[in-house]
C-alpha cells in the first residue's frame, strides 16, 4: 500500500478521528451525567434525562475503548508511557468510569429513593470526573510531561500526580468539563421537552459563551507562555521507530504548522464559530442545528490541539529527546497496513449500524414514556 511515512500520517489522522468520535459521543454522555442531579429535579425528571442516553451510552463508550486500543495498537510507546506515567490519574478516571455501567442499569431496578439518589450522584461522578482529568491530561500534553526512556526503551516517569495539577492544565480541565456539559446540554435539548428542555437550553446558551472565552484564554496562554519543542535532527520519517535517535530542543513555535499549512486554520476557525453558534441556536430552540454546530465546534477545538502538536505525541520536559513523535513511536509498517485494512472494512459497518440504532430510539423522552415503561426503562 503506502510507504511507512505516509502510513504514519494516515494513522495520525485516524487516531484523531477516533478521538473526535470519542469526544463527540461520550462527551455528551459525560455532560449529561454531570448535569443529572441539577437538571432533573425529581425522580421522573431524572429518569427522563437518563433515558435520553440509556440505550446508546454503552455503544458510545466503545469509542473510548477503541481510542485506547488504537493507541496501544498503532502507538505502543505512547500507550506504555502515558498510561504508566499518569498512573494515579488513569486509575482515578477508571474508578470514576466504574459508576456508569452499573449506575445506568441498577438505578431504577429498586424503588428506594435513597438507592436512586445515591446512583444519581454516582452517575454524576462518572460523568464529571473523567472530562476534568482528561482535560488536565490534554493540558499536560501541551506543557509536556516529565519522563524519560532508557537504553532498552523502558519508560520512566519522573513526576507525580500532583505535578499534573498546574494552573494551565487545570484550566484545560475546566474546559474539558465545560465542553462536555455544553455538548450534553445541547443534546438534552434535542431529546427532552418542557422544563428540562428549558433548563438545558439555558445551560447551553450560558455555557457556550463561557467556553469560548476560556478557549481564547487557553490559546493565548499556549502561544505566549508555553515553550514548543522542535526536532533538530532525527533518523527519518520512514525509519524504524526508535525515539532515542533524535535531538530536540524547545525553540519551536505553536503557530509554525499553521503558518506552513494555512488550511489548518480551519480547525480553530470552526472551534471559534461553532461553539457560539451552537449556544445561539440552542437558546433559540433550534436543537438539531445546535447539536451539529456544537459537534463542529468541539471537533475543531480538538483538531486545533492536534495540529499544534504535530508531529509530537508526548513531549518530555526532563529528557526532550525521549519525546514521542509520530515518526518514532509508531508500530511497524506491516502492523499499520493490517490495522488500516481492518479499520477500512469495519469502521464503516460500525457507523452504519450505530446510525441505525440512533434512528430506532430517536425522539423526545417524556414523563409519559417513563410512566409507561416504569419497569423496563432505566
Amino acid at each position: 500500500m503506502f510507504d511507512y511515512e505516509t502510513m504514519r500520517v494516515i494513522w495520525w489522522v485516524i487516531t484523531g478521528a477516533v478521538a473526535t468520535g470519542f469526544v463527540l459521543t461520550v462527551g455528551f454522555d459525560f455532560g449529561i451525567g454531570a448535569l443529572l442531579p441539577f437538571v432533573g429535579r425529581n425522580d421522573v425528571e431524572r429518569r427522563v434525562v437518563i433515558n435520553t442516553i440509556g440505550p446508546t451510552w454503552d455503544g458510545n463508550q466503545v469509542w473510548l475503548i477503541l481510542l485506547g486500543g488504537a493507541i496501544f495498537a498503532v502507538w505502543p510507546a505512547v500507550y506504555a508511557t502515558l498510561f504508566s506515567g499518569l498512573y494515579i490519574a488513569m486509575l482515578l478516571v477508571l474508578y470514576a468510569l466504574f459508576f456508569r455501567p452499573v449506575g445506568f442499569d441498577y438505578r431504577s431496578k429498586l424503588e428506594s429513593p435513597r438507592w436512586r439518589n445515591a446512583w444519581d450522584w454516582g452517575l454524576f461522578i462518572g460523568g464529571a470526573v473523567p472530562p476534568v482529568l482528561m482535560g488536565v491530561l490534554v493540558g499536560n500534553l501541551l506543557v509536556g510531561l516529565p519522563f524519560h526512556l532508557d537504553g532498552s526503551l523502558r519508560t520512566f516517569y519522573d513526576g507525580s500526580f500532583f505535578g499534573l495539577l498546574m494552573p494551565f492544565p487545570l484550566l484545560c480541565g475546566v474546559i474539558g468539563l465545560l465542553a462536555c456539559v455544553f455538548h450534553g446540554a445541547v443534546y438534552l435539548s434535542c431529546r427532552t421537552e418542557g422544563a428540562i428542555e428549558q433548563r438545558a437550553r439555558r445551560i447551553a446558551a450560558i455555557g457556550g459563551v463561557v467556553l469560548v472565552v476560556l478557549i481564547v484564554l487557553a490559546a493565548a496562554w499556549v502561544i505566549l507562555g508555553i515553550p514548543r519543542p522542535e526536532i533538530l535532527t532525527m533518523a527519518g520519517s520512514g525509519a524504524p521507530s526508535n525515539p532515542m535517535a533524535k535531538t530536540v530542543d524547545f525553540s519551536g513555535s505553536w503557530l509554525a504548522n499553521f503558518q506552513a499549512h494555512p488550511r489548518m486554520f480551519v480547525a480553530p476557525a470552526l472551534a471559534l464559530l461553532g461553539v457560539p453558534a451552537a449556544a445561539a441556536l440552542a437558546g433559540a430552540g433550534r436543537a438539531a442545528a445546535a447539536f451539529a454546530a456544537s459537534a463542529v465546534g468541539i471537533g475543531g477545538l480538538l483538531w486545533t490541539v492536534g495540529f499544534g502538536l504535530f508531529p509530537f505525541m508526548l513531549i518530555s520536559t526532563t529528557d526532550p529527546r525521549s519525546s514521542l513523535t509520530i515518526w518514532d513511536a509508531s508500530a511497524s509498517h506491516r502492523n499499520l497496513q493490517w490495522s488500516l485494512a481492518i479499520t477500512l472494512v469495519f469502521l464503516p459497518i460500525v457507523l452504519l449500524y450505530t446510525q441505525w440504532a440512533y434512528r430506532v430510539i430517536w425522539g423526545k423522552v417524556t414523563a409519559a414514556d417513563i410512566a409507561k415503561g416504569e419497569h423496563t426503562l432505566y
Binding site: P55, W57, D58, F72, F83, Y353, V360
Partner: protein, 525 residues
C-alpha cells in the same frame, strides 16, 4: 532491575482483576446465546411465554452485563498502567488484536445491547430477534479476539525481534490469527461460557420447580438449558482434551507441570490421578497412577514420549546459553558494530533471546552471566507444580460433575419427568457455582502455567511491569478491593432479588405473586 515486590504486586493486581472480570464474562457469553435461542422460539411459535423468558432471563443478563462492562475497561487500561514494558515490547502484535476486538465486537455488543432492552416496541419481531443474535455474535467474537491475544502469549507465532526498535514486531497477521492454540482455546472457552449460562438457567429454573412456582415458564427454561448445556459441556470436555493435545505440542512445560511429570517416561506415559507434588525433591508422593493414559491424551500415540520437567529444565539450559550469545551480539550491534559476523551470530540465536532475559532478574551482565546464574534461571522456567496439579483437577472434576447433571437433566426432560426428580432439581440448584469454579481454575492453569513468562519464551514476567512504586500499587489495589467488593455485594443483592421475584418482575400480570393462588395452579402448565 525491577523490585520483586513491584512484580509480585502487579501480578496480584492483574490476577485478581482478571479473575474478577471473568466472573461475569462466561455468563454473558452463555446467556446471550440462550436469549437468542429463546427469542427464536418465540418468533417461530408466537408463544408469549418465550418472549417472557427472553425478557426475564434478559433482566438477569443485564445485571450481569453491567458488571462485565465495568470490570472489562480495567483490563484494557491495565496493560498500559501496570505492564508498560510489555506494552512496548509486544504492542505491535497484542495491540491490534485488542483494537480489533473493540472495533468488531464491543461496538456490536454494546450497540445492540441497548436495542435489546429498549427496542421491544420500536421494531418488528424479526428485527428484534436479529438484534439479539447480533448481541450474541458480538459477545462471542469478543471472546475470539481475547483468546487469539491470549493464545499468542502462550504460543507466540508470526513475529520476530527487531534490534532497531528493540521490540517484537508482526511478521504475519495470518499466523497470529490462525494460531492453532487460539482456535482450540476459543471453542473451549466459549463452550465453557455456554455451560455457565445453561447451569445458571437450569439451577434457577430448578428452584422455581422445587417451589412449585411458574411451572410452565420454569419447565421450558429447564428444557432449553438442559439440551443446550449437554451439547456445551460435551464440547468443553472434548475441546479441553484437544487443549491437552496442543499443549503437548507447544507448551510442554505446562503440560508436564499439570501432570506432575518429573521424569520423561517410556511411552506411553502414565496419568497421575492424585498425589502430592513436591517441588524441592522433584517427585510426587502417594501418586495414584493409571498407565498409558497421559501418553494417549498428550501425544495421541503409543510411541511418542511426554517430556518430564527434569528433562525440560535441561533443554532450558541450552536455550539460555544460546540466548546469551544473541544478547551479547545485540549489545554489540547497539554499540555500533555492524559487522556481518555479529549480525549472523544474532540471527542464529535470536529465537532464544527471551531465555537470556530470564537472567535479568539476577544480573545486569546478561551476556557474561556465570553457570550458577544460568542454573538458577533454568530452574525458574519450571512453574509451581502443586498449584497447577490441583487447580487442573478441580476444573476437570467440576466439568465431569456438570456432565452428569446435564445428562440426567436431558434424559429426564426427554422422558418428561424432570420436575418430579427432586434430587436432580436440588442438585442443580446447589451446582450453580460449579461452572464458575471450573472457569476460574481453568484460567489459573492457563496463566500460572505460563510462568515465568508473560510471552512464552519471549518476555519474562519480571521484565514486563511498569516502573512504578509500591505505593502506587497499594493505592490501586486498595481502590480495586474497595470498588470490586462493594459492587459484588450490590450485584449479588440485585441478582438474588430478581431471581426471587422471578418472571413477576416483568409485570405482565401472568405470574406468581401477581395472581390469586387458585388461578396459579390451574394455569401452571
Amino acid at each position: 532491575m525491577i523490585g520483586e515486590d513491584i512484580v509480585d504486586l502487579s501480578r496480584l493486581q492483574f490476577g485478581l482483576t482478571a479473575l474478577y472480570h471473568f466472573l461475569f464474562v462466561p455468563l454473558t457469553l452463555g446467556l446471550a446465546l440462550l436469549l437468542a435461542i429463546m427469542e427464536s422460539v418465540y418468533v417461530m411459535t408466537g408463544k408469549e411465554v418465550y418472549k417472557d423468558m427472553t425478557r426475564f432471563w434478559g433482566k438477569l443478563f443485564g445485571i450481569n452485563f453491567a458488571m462485565g462492562v465495568t470490570t472489562g475497561i480495567t483490563l484494557e487500561f491495565q496493560f498500559g498502567t501496570n505492564w508498560s514494558y510489555y506494552s512496548h515490547y509486544v504492542g505491535d502484535i497484542f495491540g491490534p488484536i485488542l483494537a480489533s476486538e473493540g472495533l468488531m465486537s464491543f461496538f456490536l455488543e454494546s450497540t445492540f445491547v441497548g436495542l435489546f432492552f429498549f427496542g421491544w416496541d420500536r421494531m418488528s419481531r424479526v428485527q428484534h430477534l436479529s438484534v439479539t443474535w447480533l448481541l450474541a455474535l458480538g459477545t462471542n467474537t469478543s471472546a475470539l479476539w481475547i483468546l487469539i491475544a491470549n493464545a499468542w502469549m502462550q504460543h507466540p507465532v508470526g513475529t520476530e525481534f527487531n534490534y532497531e526498535t528493540l521490540r517484537m514486531e508482526l511478521t504475519s497477521f495470518a499466523d497470529v490469527f490462525f494460531n492453532p492454540v487460539a482456535q482450540v482455546k476459543f471453542v473451549h472457552t466459549v463452550a465453557a461460557g455456554y455451560v455457565t449460562g445453561a447451569m445458571f438457567v437450569l439451577g434457577i429454573s430448578s428452584w422455581y420447580l422445587l417451589k412449585g412456582r411458574d411451572k410452565g415458564f420454569a419447565r421450558r427454561s429447564f428444557s432449553i438449558a438442559a439440551a443446550f448445556g449437554l451439547a456445551s459441556v460435551l464440547s468443553v470436555i472434548v475441546l479441553g482434551d484437544e487443549s491437552g493435545y496442543t499443549d503437548g505440542e507447544v507448551q510442554k512445560v505446562k503440560l508436564a507441570a499439570i501432570e506432575a511429570a518429573w521424569e520423561t517416561e517410556k511411552p506411553p506415559a502414565a496419568f497421575t490421578v492424585v498425589g502430592f507434588p513436591d517441588q524441592e525433591r522433584q517427585e510426587t508422593r502417594y501418586a495414584l497412577r493409571i498407565p498409558y493414559v497421559l501418553g494417549l491424551i498428550a501425544t495421541r500415540s503409543i510411541d511418542e514420549e511426554v517430556k518430564g520437567l527434569k528433562e525440560l529444565r535441561e533443554s532450558s539450559l541450552a536455550h539460555i546459553r544460546s540466548g546469551q550469545i544473541a544478547y551479547g551480539a545485540l549489545e554489540r550491534i547497539r554499540a555500533g558494530d555492524a559487522s556481518a559476523a555479529v549480525k549472523a551470530d544474532f540471527e542464529a540465536h535470536k529465537a532464544d533471546l527471551g531465555f537470556a532475559l530470564l537472567l535479568a532478574k539476577y544480573t545486569e551482565g546478561i551476556a557474561g552471566a556465570g553457570e550458577d546464574l544460568v542454573q538458577k534461571a533454568a530452574t525458574d522456567t519450571i512453574p509451581g507444580v502443586a498449584p497447577l496439579f490441583w487447580t487442573f483437577r478441580i476444573m476437570v472434576a467440576s466439568g465431569f460433575a456438570m456432565l452428569f447433571i446435564f445428562v440426567m437433566a436431558f434424559y429426564y426432560c426427554a422422558k418428561r419427568v424432570a420436575d418430579h426428580k427432586r434430587w436432580l432439581l436440588k442438585l442443580a440448584v446447589w451446582s450453580i457455582p460449579l461452572p464458575w469454579i471450573a472457569a476460574e481454575t481453568g484460567w489459573f492453569v492457563a496463566e500460572y502455567g505460563r510462568q515465568p513468562w508473560t510471552i512464552s519464551g519471549v518476555l519474562p514476567t519480571h521484565l514486563s511491569t511498569s516502573s512504578l512504586s509500591a505505593g502506587d500499587l497499594w493505592f490501586s489495589i486498595a481502590g480495586f478491593a474497595f470498588f470490586y467488593t462493594a459492587l459484588l455485594v450490590i450485584e449479588l443483592y440485585l441478582m438474588l432479588k430478581y431471581v426471587k421475584l422471578g418472571p413477576s418482575s416483568l409485570h405482565t400480570g401472568r405470574y406468581h405473586f401477581e395472581r390469586p393462588a387458585a388461578a396459579l395452579s390451574s394455569s401452571a402448565a
